[in-house]
Symmetry: C2
Subunit: 221 residues, 2 copies
DNA sequence: GATAGTTTCATACAACTGTTTGAATTGCAA
DNA sequence: TTGCAATTCAAACAGTTGTATGAAACTATC
């Protein structure tokens, strides 16, 4: 077969450029110039621009998903089939956050690319993200086993909120840094994960009646 | 001055098209065709495509911001200068959620446009969003007055998480609906607001020592 | 070393984009 | 009506985009 040299040169250059400037501002000509290959090489090796983007995204995201499932498995084994809700949520948001946050200068091109992919939303990536639901179902199932007394709806909302906090933190870390005048340390990934997990756990395990009361009291206004 | 007929026709058509198909897929020619005006009218009335988008976004977002501040003011008056954390968060996330969620068929073009603006991220809109920080500071200040014993960092994270849950719910309501198999009722905007506010309040008012313990215990692993 | 298959290359293509131009038209004030 | 500004219009512009083509260069097999 081929030497794969050109192929990987394109992948690396594309990943870096997309990470730096976003999907909207990078053309195939930019990529091939950075990779020092011919313009036609992209279509020859990948078929189209969209397929190149898709390949970049899937290879990055299956790595994260594998890490997630791995941690989930470990947590379930440690709990004898029933992982603690804490460890489930940690397995859910930890890998993504660890992959995307951390000191700016230490971030790999791959991580900066994934941040871009989570901010901007281009068609080829959107398609792939839709397939992610099956992956999330595994976490929903684990949560169900962990908190069987909790209603399904509450569990789904808890899962959704945990992901929301993680993704928004990745997406908008700059705004939080500005808003808090640097008070919120976004380089402390471990601390951020702890915070998100703690809030999510509290949302899922708090006294249920208290919440219900609160809600109905609020609604009564 | 002018009749403004052309101007508003363009605004309406653009709002509707962007809402339906997103920013990437709508050209000026699509807009002028839908508005039944001449192509040059956009540049004549707005200067450029980006300025048209910006005008659409600001007019929608100042409406939401005004509503937010209005509710905040009411809450502070009701509390004699110190609004409850509950009502502050409600003023923060309520207007946005009410504007963007609810039964699909009842959504206005303006609300669908704002959903798009929150999913896709185009340069003219990004610029405007950066100015939103001053607006958020007012809520941070209100939260500080409401929970003076809480650390600033905790307050900023709480504010950030509340917005995260609200925005992600708007952005990804479809995924949650699919994941939960329709179990999570995304038409019940009031219920969603209650949930987000309840979780945020719990995150901000829970026993502080418990959280600190939890965090240090988690870190010890 | 000839051959067949793979890969690279320069170049052209075709379509689409936002913007500009200058003339035609309209609407209003004198 | 006349004159002047505001608005509309058809047309063209200038640039960019992803993709296709066919010849050239390379590589490995026999």
């Amino acid at each position: 077969m081929a030497s794969d040299q050109t192929r990987t040169a394109i992948l690396n250059a594309a990943e870096r450029l997309y990470a730096e400037r976003g999907f909207g501002d990078v053309t195939l000509r930019d990529i091939v110039a950075a990779a020092d290959v011919n313009l036609a090489a992209v279509n020859y090796h990948f078929g189209s621009k969209d397929e190149l983007i898709a390949e970049l995204f899937v290879s990055s995201s299956i790595a994260t998903n594998r890490e997630r499932l791995n941690q989930l498995k470990l947590a379930e084994e440690a709990g004898g089939g029933r992982a603690s809700i804490d460890s489930i949520l940690r397995a859910l948001v930890g890998p993504t956050l660890r992959g995307c946050l951390g000191p700016e200068r230490e971030r790999s091109a791959a991580s900066r690319f994934m941040i871009r992919a989570s901010i901007e939303s281009v068609p080829p990536i959107r398609k792939i993200k839709n397939r992610e639901i099956d992956h999330l179902r595994k976490f929903a199932a684990a949560m169900r086993r962990s908190l069987p007394e909790r209603s399904e709806v509450d569990l789904y909302w808890g899962l959704h909120f945990a992901l929301a906090m993680a993704h928004q933190t990745i997406r908008d870390s700059e705004r939080l840094a500005k808003l808090s005048d640097g008070l919120c340390d976004l380089n402390d990934v471990g601390g951020i994960i702890d915070r998100i997990v703690a809030v999510s756990v509290k949302a899922l395990t708090g006294d249920q009646r208290k919440i219900a009361d609160k809600i109905s009291a609020q609604r009564a206004r």
